[in-house]
């Protein structure tokens, strides 16, 4: 059964390749970076694997390894989603809706003041 198991996993792997390929096939270049960043966050789900490793770790070496695996994976997943959200926050379809940017306004006031 473990040998047929591996075939099932292989099947899932191959299907996922097709899905991955098709799903991003039409991404506009404007979204290349957010997509890269977002998929970077998605592979942070390796945290689940790291947790399993950590839970079953025995002996100091394994525990240290597991600890760092969890730490690194957490950095990946938390940082990844946060930074992606920050990028995407800026894409608003109706920019007029957002509150005016304080920084830009005051800066422009400076510039005007200085020039006139």
């Amino acid at each position: 059964m473990s040998t047929t198991g591996i075939l099932e996993f292989l099947t899932i792997f191959i299907l996922a390749i097709f899905v991955g390929n098709e799903v991003v096939a039409r991404v506009p270049s404007i979204l290349h970076t957010p997509l890269m960043s977002g998929s970077n966050a998605i592979h942070g789900i390796v945290l689940v694997g790291a947790m399993i490793i950590m839970g079953t770790a025995t002996g100091t070496a394994q525990i240290i390894l597991g600890f760092f695996a969890v730490l690194l994976a957490t950095l990946n997943i938390v940082g990844g989603f946060t930074v992606t959200d920050r990028m995407l926050e800026m894409f608003k379809s109706k920019p007029g809706d957002g509150p005016p940017r304080g920084g830009s306004k005051s800066k422009s006031a400076d510039a005007e003041g200085g020039a006139k």
Binding site: T33, P34, A41, I45, F91
Partner: protein, 470 residues
């Protein structure tokens, strides 16, 4: 048993959510929701893992506590960093988050390897093969991302680092790794495994060294895809469908994305990876720009302000310098001002302007520039001939006519924004230094062209004033 089924179902749902999220991330409207969906799914899946019998947390309380400590620590570090870093530093941030993911996959592989070598039962060959695969790819991704980070953060030179027979040496290291991995597979030796891991780290470094700073974003995308594959390998190792699907999704879509990115730069992926693009620079352009003797025309902000104010159609062409100067808001101000005066204004966005794809869109979106004022290159180019002024703000390579006219040039063949077709060209930059490709730009010497030296934010502010006075 029943609990396992429920957990597996949750994992399956999370995998589906990831697919839907990735689809969302590919469409401008759904992108943010997609990311939030993925984040939500990840939280649920991680939460479920605490109850996963496989993780044995119920019987290993110390491990549970340590896991929680590691997670809290990770979150406490990651969130502020991700929140506070400057927009221009995004690429290196993505690099580092990607690298640690690869590192986590490698650590998982090492631990599983140790567990197997501790246990009496001999595991199947393919089990160890999967472990080694995860180790290898994870290590390459980890060290490669670290170097990429160092290049972008300017902890080391962004120039390609080359030495004789570089590709041959890299190839030999690759072969050595494969041989060592096979030996590890056959002997099960921990020492060999460690050597394999170390060599893989080395491979990651030497693979990235010859890649120039401007090409690093493409490289990061590739390493991102590698980490995805490493995570998929971890999934095979741990019999975990969620890791297999999520990792493979990222691996497959990442490779496609990488190719699309290099295509947008008018080059093939292998050219980006292996041609040490930009290494000629030091010889040709010179980094100081002082060698230049030919005459260029400069203008005052007042002159240019008048030119802009009385133009019918102005095209703003932003580039990396706009990002460096954080001048997006001032650019918007200038554009708004001109539009108030009835001038037709739009931004022409080159796909690889800046240092990461979509960089300009992100910046201009941050400045609340409406979508309809942004035109992609293909849309903008037919309009260039009818433009009165092309206002080039901190861009260089992306408007360099050498890409069209000079077959020997390293950027030859890359599509550019045809600024040279406009009636007047204004360049806002700080000096005569070249852009990232490190090559001279003939357009600077064109008689149509007027230069205004200075930091883009300052010069734009001066232009705002100039237009107001006009």
């Amino acid at each position: 048993m029943t609990l396992t089924i429920w957990i597996d179902l949750i994992y399956l749902l999370a995998a589906v959510a990831f697919i839907v999220a990735l689809k969302g991330l590919s469409s401008p409207k759904q992108a943010r929701n997609g990311n939030l969906l993925a984040a939500g799914a990840a939280i649920v899946a991680v939460g479920a893992t605490f109850f996963n019998p496989e993780a044995q947390f119920s019987s290993h309380t110390t491990n549970l506590i340590l896991a929680i400590v590691a997670m809290v620590l990770g979150a406490v570090i990651a969130v502020p960093v991700a929140r506070m870093v400057k927009m221009t530093a995004m690429p290196q941030l993505v690099a580092i988050f990607n690298g640690v993911g690869g590192g986590a996959a490698a650590l998982i592989s090492i631990t599983v390897f140790l567990q197997h070598s501790d246990s009496a039962a001999k595991p199947a060959v393919y089990t160890i093969a999967e472990v080694l695969l995860g180790l290898l790819i994870g290590c390459v991704s980890f060290s490669g991302s670290a170097i990429a980070f160092a290049k972008l953060q300017e902890l080391m030179t962004g120039r390609p680092i080359t030495y004789p027979a570089q590709q041959v040496i890299n190839g030999l290291v690759g072969v050595a790794i494969v041989a060592l991995a096979l030996a590890t597979l056959l002997t099960g030796s921990v020492t060999l495994m460690v050597i394999t891991a170390v060599l893989s780290l080395v491979l990651g470094i030497i693979f990235v060294l010859p890649i120039g700073g401007a090409d690093v974003p493409v490289l990061i995308s590739l390493l991102n895809s590698f980490t995805g594959l490493a995570v998929a390998a971890s999934g095979f190792t741990l019999d975990n469908n969620l890791l297999i699907i999520a990792g493979t999704l990222v691996g497959a879509s990442g490779i496609l994305l990488t190719r699309m990115m290099s295509k947008a730069m008018g080059r093939s992926l292998s050219n980006v990876l292996f041609s040490a693009f930009g290494s000629v620079v030091t010889a040709a352009g010179g980094a100081d720009g002082t060698g230049e003797t030919r005459q260029v025309k400069t203008g005052t902000p007042e002159d240019i302000g008048v030119l802009l104010a009385y133009a019918r159609k102005v095209v703003i062409i932003p580039g990396y310098g706009l990002a460096v100067a954080q001048a997006q808001h001032t650019a918007r101000e200038l554009a708004d001002l001109l539009m108030e005066r009835g001038v037709e204004v739009f931004y022409a966005i080159h796909p690889v302007a800046g240092r990461m794809p979509g960089h300009m869109n992100v910046l201009l979106a941050e400045a609340n520039v409406p979508y309809d004022e942004l035109k992609e290159m293909d849309e903008a180019n037919p309009e260039m001939a009818t433009a009165d002024v092309a206002l080039v703000v901190g861009a260089n390579d992306t408007v360099n006519p050498a890409a069209k006219n000079t077959p020997g040039s390293p950027i030859y063949g890359m599509p550019i924004i045809n600024a040279d077709e406009a009636e007047h060209v204004i360049f806002l930059k700080r000096s005569m230094r070249p852009g990232f490709a490190g090559i001279d730009n003939e357009l600077l010497f064109n008689e149509k062209t007027t230069l205004l030296f200075g930091d883009a934010k300052d010069t734009l502010a001066k232009l705002v004033a100039g237009v107001q006075e006009a």
